[in-house]
């Protein structure tokens, strides 16, 4: 009899936790965002389309999306490296370095922007040396990337670190005893195990960079067509009482970010199933 029944869930609390999750998500996030999207639909398609395809707006998409992609990629590479170094190697001051990784979360973005521009302006501690090589960071697109890299820095480190810590040494030893050299072990054993965490960190760093405002406005020159990010343009529209324009561009950002996250999370879910 009991065999014929579908396997029952042993673990309780699905209804409770799911219920609360959806309730809270609904109240704080879904209803406001829904209302916002509904607000966007009150404008005609033509108004919407014109608002989101102005040349200046399109130029800002390129910078915001491109800059976020580059910053997230830098963070993917260096974040994985930092996580690896922190987990695998011993060196003096390791615990301090580990703790410092959280700094970009802790520092208010506006403060970060002020600190970064102080550093990288051509009169700054770092900027004056870069200037010698003809590299200008502050008030250029490079500055935008620096700010976006900074705010996204902890994501990859913090998602990869715990997985790397839990990675059983036996796997690597097994790989080695089967004759694989170090490079092959890293590529074939370690990397696949880290992939979901890497992708998660990448997605988070990208997502965070895309929406960032506070730190970028200080270090970017904010020149339309060149160094103007999309969130700044949204502020500009709102301050000209153009809520429709602001909402329209906001909606584009919203949908793009959501699609991106959906793809990456789906990918991560798929890899973790394949490996799990």
């Amino acid at each position: 009899m009991s065999i014929a029944l579908p396997r029952r869930r042993v673990i309780p609390g699905f209804a409770l936790t799911m219920g609360f999750t959806l309730l809270y998500l609904g109240l704080v996030f879904l209803i406001p965002v829904g209302a916002f999207l509904l607000y966007t639909t009150t404008m005609s398609w033509e108004t919407f389309w014109n608002a989101v395809t102005q040349r200046q707006v399109v130029a800002s998409y390129k910078l915001s999306f491109g800059g976020s992609l580059i910053a997230a990629t830098i963070n993917l590479a260096f974040g994985a490296l930092v996580a690896w170094v922190l987990v695998r190697y011993r060196f003096p001051g390791k615990r301090l370095v580990d703790a410092l990784v959280d700094l970009p979360f802790a520092l208010p973005t506006a403060v970060a922007g002020i600190a970064l521009v102080t550093l990288y302006a051509s009169s700054g501690w770092v900027g004056q040396y870069l200037e010698l090589f003809g590299i200008r960071v502050a008030y250029t697109q490079l500055g935008v990337i620096v700010a976006l890299t900074y705010i996204g820095l902890p994501f990859v480190v913090r998602t990869v670190q715990p997985v790397l810590e839990d990675l059983e040494a036996e796997w690597e030893e097994a790989s080695a005893s089967l004759g694989a050299d170090r490079f092959t072990t890293v590529r074939r054993v370690i990397l696949p195990a880290l992939l979901p965490a890497l992708l998660t960190g990448y997605a988070l760093a990208f997502a965070r960079a895309l929406g960032e405002y506070g730190s970028v406005v200080f270090i970017s020159g904010n020149l339309p067509f060149r160094t103007e990010i999309t969130p700044l343009l949204i502020v500009a529209k709102a301050e000209q009482y153009d809520y429709h324009g602001a909402a329209a561009i906001g909606t584009v950002m919203l949908i793009a970010a959501f699609l991106m996250l959906l793809v990456i999370n789906g990918l991560q879910w798929w890899t973790s199933r394949r490996h799990g």
Partner: protein, 351 residues
Amino acid sequence: MTLQIKRLHNTLLPLAAAAALGGALLTGLAGQAIAQERIELLNVSYDPTREFYREYNQVFAEHWQEENDQSVNVRQSHGGSGSQGRAVIDGLDADVVTLALAYDIDAIHDRADQIPADWQSRLPNNSSPYTSTIVLLVREGNPKNIQDWDDLVRDDVEVITPNPKTSGGARWNYLAAWGYALEKYDGDEDEAYEFVRQVYDNVPVLDPAARGATNTFVQRRIGDVFIAWENEAFLSVEQLGQGEYDIIVPSISILAEPPVTVVDANVDRKGTREVAEAYLDFLYTDEAQHLAAKHYYRPSNESILAEYEQLFPELNLFTIDEVFDGWKNAQETHFNDGGVFDRILEEINAG
């Protein structure tokens, strides 16, 4: 037993959270209730007036206490002029607004109908108790030898000014340059366009707000000349480095009129009209006019202005009504989407 305590603990956690949320809502409401017991005014203003109103509020409170035996506390809110106007439209409870340009106050009428259309004629001097003008701030000794607007279009000069689309103050800058070019080219709009385009072609950083632009010029040492309000120029020299900057007064500039008004819908609801109107009227008294001059705003009272002629050199000033036929017109032609400024930006960046 222990289990029961733990259970209790479990139910307590969500309850505590709910209580905390309730508490927050109550704090908001209670703050509201207390505020109504004594006289509280909210003055929603723009960035550069912080120092002035901090002092003025004290003077006014003393005055009101003497006259009416009642204590009044003026709360302040400062930010970019446009975003402050927007906040009032969206429900920020301002009793009075003291913004950078009439357009932002017009919007409070147009979009929220909280003030009548003729608000600007309710007080003397277009409701501007103090005025200013646009001047040029250069580095010590004027190394680029900048004397007038003409020097701003030179190839070797970098100009700092905020974005006129987001900064109310920067719209005055733009219009001042435009007005100068019109004067120079006998009203030829095409020449004026070309002149202003060349000015913006020399702008390496376009900060969203005026104070940010000051910091770019002063702290980061970017640019050779900073187009600034006269009061902001004086303040930068005073606070950020005496002797490090020189103020260049151009041959011709615009009369910047930052207007003030009572927000009728709010004062009538809160019953604060009397004190709010007194607050604005008091701005026109001799005492307040001197205070404005002390904070580098030009007093609208001619005789008091004359006492400060050393500070405020006389120059050829035109008004926005004379040259641009009012703010509405200027805004539509120049700063709205697809307006002249957008054209300038597109042209600069097309190449």
